[in-house]
């Protein structure tokens, strides 16, 4: 019965059967056509394909870590300290005899989780703030945008460090700190879009038929900004992962024994001269992941930008 649900619960004697797929397709026909077009465009863009492949690979690795990882990521085994790559340990072991491949795989879960959570929090709050600010305009807009400017005027890493240090070192606090820093990026962009959308005729029509400001923001302004938020979110994911890893590197993010990439590099750098593999593998994974999100985000922006479309 997949694809079907019962509509109008308990109202009539005969439940009305609706095929949700059909209904969805009808309602969002334009968006679906647009999406298909986008996917085709992206498919023709080699960097988009490469970026997507990297992201998909990382996500798959993160999801499958408990199944695929050969060892326990936090169980120490002092007899196997600092073994070079090879044999049972493809990426070698760390100073407590833990398998680095395993820790890198589990690290992907943490880094991607941080990235997604931060983008959801920052994107959600930022979009709402930006849309309201842009739609209401005038003094409210000025006030909000000045606050955002103040936040933006700090280098993101420095501000995130200060916040994380003030909140106390833990992974959740690091997430909050990074999310806070990222809010203005979304807010500024969405505000710009909101200013444009606000002038459209359908907004005037909605207002004429008695819709309130918040209703309009929610039903018209925000949906129209969604695609840009997604692009920006993808681009920012890479930066987020990097900042979160940096926070962990200086001890403000993930706490031991959490297998976080930045934290692994932080300890691994002490052994870099003799045990190159310790800091190198988590470093390579940060690099590849961030590049993956960046090139995919760039390609996505190109595809969505109407000026570039042929």
């Amino acid at each position: 019965m997949a694809g079907e649900r019962i509509g109008a619960w308990g109202r009539g004697k005969r439940p009305l059967r609706i095929n949700v797929f059909d209904e969805f397709r009808r309602q969002y026909a334009w968006q679906i056509r647009e999406l298909g077009f986008m996917v085709r465009l992206l498919g023709r863009n080699p960097s988009a394909v490469a970026g997507f492949a990297i992201i998909a690979g990382m996500v798959a690795m993160a999801l499958a870590a408990p199944v695929l990882a050969p060892f326990n990521p936090i169980q120490i085994s002092l007899g196997d300290r600092l073994l070079p790559p090879g044999g049972a340990h493809w990426f070698g072991t760390d100073e407590l005899g833990r398998d680095i491949l395993t820790r890198v795989m589990y690290g992907a879960r943490i880094s991607l989780w941080i990235g997604v959570i931060v983008v959801v929090i920052a994107g959600g709050l930022g979009a709402v703030i930006g849309a309201v600010s842009g739609y209401l305009g005038r003094r409210f807009d000025d006030l909000i945008m000045r606050v955002m400017d103040v936040i933006l005027s700090f280098p993101p890493l420095v501000l995130a460090m200060a916040l994380a240090a003030a909140l106390g070192p833990s992974l959740n606090n690091a997430i909050l700190a990074v999310a806070f820093v990222m809010i203005p990026k979304f807010a500024r962009m969405v505000r710009g879009e909101a200013l444009a959308v606000k002038e459209k005729q359908f907004i005037a029509a909605a207002r004429a038929s008695g819709a309130g400001s918040l209703w309009i923001v929610w039903h018209h302004v925000l949906p129209n900004c969604l695609s840009s938020v997604i692009v920006l979110g993808t681009l920012i994911l890479g930066e987020t992962i990097l900042i979160a890893a940096s926070l962990s590197f200086i001890g403000l993010g993930a706490q031991p024994p959490t297998p976080e990439w930045g934290a692994m590099i932080s300890v691994g750098r002490k052994f870099l001269m003799d045990q190159w593999w310790y800091a190198t593998f988590p470093g390579v994974f940060i690099l590849v992941t961030v590049i993956g999100f960046n090139i995919f985000g760039d390609a996505l922006r190109d595809v969505l930008d109407p000026r570039i479309r042929r």
Binding site: I74, Q75, I76, L78, G79, R81, L82, E95, L96, G97, P169, G251, Q255, P256, P257, V267, R269, K270, F271, L272, M273, D274
Partner: protein, 517 residues
């Protein structure tokens, strides 16, 4: 505009050239020592930390000093600021004759008054150093060059205690810096005023500490003009700097990196059997840790052989009782904890503390501590204790230890004179809470009685018997996790000559007799 640009260009060129010239360590009159953490305080009446004493000790004179025998430090003493001394038949009254002509930097003479002032100041302030010279009952200046010291009871290593940092002779003129009756503590925490061969010329927090030799020192003139102590947190930084010749001695290098250094012909790795022990303070006043079953459980969880074989690479032995091997009073058959996860769980169950969250604080004072902390975390997890690790700067950590504001903390200890009281009384007497020595804030009246009685006696056999009795109780109460006694490893450039190691002066250097060739 053009000339300005030229000037800049020339300036930058010079800067680049200057950077390319080999570092200060190439200078034969400057010794550079790389160490892991910054200095906490410079007041000899306050500091109980060998890492502070490293700087304080060479800036002051003491009545006596440890003798160097065949290039090795010994526990015998020889005259320094005191020319000679006599002792009453009952060993209670000591009379010192002070060398004439020793002056502080401002011209104040080092005389009997300066000695009385310094010792009374230490005793009045009553911090850790007061225990070092705790045998003293009264100090009297008989005349300008004669000091009479009366002891509470005859104390075998009394002369040795006068060679410790606590017995440093401070210029009485520091009292002009006194504020609110602090006996100039605030000033002496950041300054030094001694008659020793070196004086402080720079202290950039977190960066470096510079000692300069005095031209007019009364004793043998040091070969070195300057000693730079560089604070370098990273073991690998120290190693690179040592290999490139930017530093002469590296104190904080991970044992894992020692084998690679030993292959370098320009570097000599010196190893000395030491009495340095590393251990975990368990705050006995903390409600979670008041129950001795919990403390026993923590002791039972630790993988001692794993740490020693792998992290220390065999450069250490598990401690047996609080008194280390090599010190008299070491009890070779006292109870020793072994890793036993099932027993640890059982003990926690008995204590009704199956779910326990604890925090361990540690600093980067010793490069291996990060690993030890991670191992403890994992070992404790095995018995169901969730351990949070908190890394902090060493000075911050010491403040917390002094206030008792911690649950578990990693620490190191080494004796300053050859007497088991350095362990038994400092660690367990409940009058010594905090930095002075009883860092676990352990209080057991029976133990208090035994160690105090042992300290007041002079008969070695009787003292050993009392300390043995106390050790049995202590190992049941388990106020510390006694990890290991380690070897001291000092890697240095081969051109450093005359370095003398003394287990009583751990991490302290004989800068006055070191030279470079």
């Amino acid at each position: 505009m053009k000339t300005m640009t030229m000037r800049w260009a020339v300036g930058i060129l010079f800067a680049v050239l200057a950077a390319a010239v080999p570092g200060l360590a190439a200078d034969k009159e400057t010794l550079v020592v790389g160490v892991s953490s910054d200095v906490h305080t410079l007041d000899p009446a306050v500091s109980s930390d060998n890492y502070d004493w490293r700087q304080i000790y060479p800036a002051y004179d003491r009545l006596v000093k440890y003798k160097v025998v065949n290039g090795e430090g010994s526990t015998e003493v020889e005259p320094m600021a005191a020319e000679s001394w006599t002792v009453s038949p009952d060993s209670l009254v000591w009379t010192f004759k002070i060398r004439k002509g020793i002056k502080f930097d401002d011209g104040t003479p080092l005389d009997a008054k300066a000695v009385t002032f310094s010792f009374e100041r230490v005793l009045k302030i009553g911090k850790g150093p007061a225990d070092n010279i705790g045998a003293i009952k009264t100090v009297e200046a008989v005349d300008d060059t004669t000091v009479k010291i009366t002891l509470k009871s005859a104390f075998g290593p009394f002369l040795q205690t006068l060679a410790t940092d606590a017995a440093s002779i401070v210029n009485p003129a520091v009292m002009k810096h006194e504020k609110n009756g602090d006996l100039a503590q605030a000033w002496l925490a950041q300054n030094m005023d001694g008659s020793g061969p070196f004086k402080m010329t720079e202290w950039s927090r977190g960066e470096r500490f510079v000692l300069s030799a005095k031209d007019n020192y009364w004793g043998a003139k040091p070969a070195l003009k300057r000693v730079i102590i560089r604070f370098m947190r990273e073991s690998s930084d120290q190693r690179m700097a040592l290999e490139s010749g930017d530093i002469d001695i590296a104190e904080g290098i991970l044992i894992d990196q020692i084998p690679a250094l030993e292959k370098n012909p320009n570097i000599v790795v010196r190893r000395f059997p030491s009495q340095l022990v590393e251990y975990v303070y368990i705050n006995c006043q903390n409600p979670k840790l008041q129950n001795k079953l919990v403390r026993q459980a923590l002791n039972t969880a630790v993988d001692y052989p794993g740490i020693i074989t792998h992290v220390l690479r065999g450069n250490g032995v598990q401690m047996r009782g609080p008194v280390p091997k090599g010190m008299w009073g070491h009890k070779a058959d006292v109870f020793q904890f072994q890793r036993n996860v099932a027993k640890g769980k059982e003990l926690l169950k008995q204590a009704g503390a199956e779910k326990l969250d604890l925090t361990l604080i540690y600093s980067e004072r010793r490069p291996s501590w990060e690993q030890i902390a991670a191992i403890l975390q994992s070992n404790f997890a095995d018995i169901g204790v969730n351990l949070k690790l908190e890394l902090m700067a060493n000075p911050t950590l010491r403040e917390k230890v002094d206030r008792g504001d911690f649950e578990l903390c990693l620490g190191a200890w080494s004796p300053d004179y050859a007497d088991p009281s350095m362990f038994m009384n400092f660690w367990f007497d409940s009058n010594n809470f905090g930095l002075p020595g009883n860092r676990s804030r352990y209080k057991n009246e029976q133990v208090d009685g035994l160690v105090r009685k042992a300290l007041a006696l002079s008969d070695v056999a009787q003292r050993v018997a009392l300390y043995n009795q106390a050790q049995e109780i202590i190992m049941q109460d388990a106020p510390y996790i006694l990890l290991y006694q380690t070897q001291t490893i000092v890697p240095m450039r081969a051109w450093v000559k005359g370095y003398v190691y003394n287990p009583m002066l751990e991490s302290m250097y004989n800068f006055e007799s070191i030279s470079k060739q």
